[in-house]
Subunit: 153 residues, 2 copies
């Protein structure tokens, strides 16, 4: 249960290869770190949202992957589909100003915000409707038990 443990087993067999920052993490650690399951990470990769390096067949997640995962999770939190997230992330260009990416994100965000507000309105409706029904039901129950209850305090 050690596996590179936490602080990087300094001279690892065959690392220090591609990355500069050197904090490659395997899927288990990655999953714990971000509170997702292994399946989720593989799923995201399958959908083209993550692209961890490989050491043989073992996935090694880099700093970049962590940043991307954070974005994915933020996106999910605010209600974007994975497809949306991918579409936005695919526009990322480390050499440019990313204006297009930002515009797309803003556009999608506006729509999503509208959806969220509509949802909230629906939920508020539902809450009100439900509360009303509950009052009615309580009434009915009270009436049904009243005949005996009026005395038995």
């Amino acid at each position: 249960m050690k596996l590179i443990s936490a602080g990087e087993t300094a001279a690892n067999t065959n690392n220090m290869s591609v990355e500069t920052g050197e904090d490659l993490v395997r899927i288990g650690e990655m999953a714990k770190k971000y509170g997702v399951t292994l399946r989720t990470l593989r799923f995201y990769e399958d959908k083209g949202l993550l692209n961890p390096q490989r050491d043989g067949s073992t996935r090694l997640y880099t700093r970049r992957d962590k940043a991307r995962l954070k974005l994915i999770l933020l996106g999910r939190k605010v209600g974007f589909s994975l497809r949306d997230v991918k579409q936005m992330m695919d526009l990322y260009d480390p050499t440019g100003s990313n204006t297009k990416q930002l515009r797309l994100a803003l556009d999608k965000s506006e729509k999503q915000l509208a959806r969220l507000q509509k949802q909230r309105a629906l939920i508020d409706d539902a809450i009100n409707e439900l509360s009303g029904s509950m009052s009615a039901v309580r009434q009915m129950l009270a009436e049904r038990s009243a005949p005996q209850a009026s005395v038995a305090g």
Copy 2:
């Protein structure tokens, strides 16, 4: 496109059979009346939520079915699953006080209310998070267009 039309074609071939109130409606009219699809009505029947009479193979919806459908739609609106709705409706007993039904409904309603409130909290979170991100993105876009804009008013 006539079909008994709207106001009941008085002397219909073979109606006035089972119901007292006499307002049997076929699936098409029923669907329009309540804004659902034919498929939905058949689906509800398949799930045991509705039980229209039959004239041969033709479904005939009674007053009772309409009442039940209203309940189903209300249930759906406040977020109950069809299973929940069925469970509650199955307890209906026209001869009793329906105390058990009401208690179950109240119990489920309380839980559903809690879920709705949790959902609303999540949505509020999402809205806030998203609004924040949007501000940031707008900032970035503004900065990117500022260099030229400071002169080109």
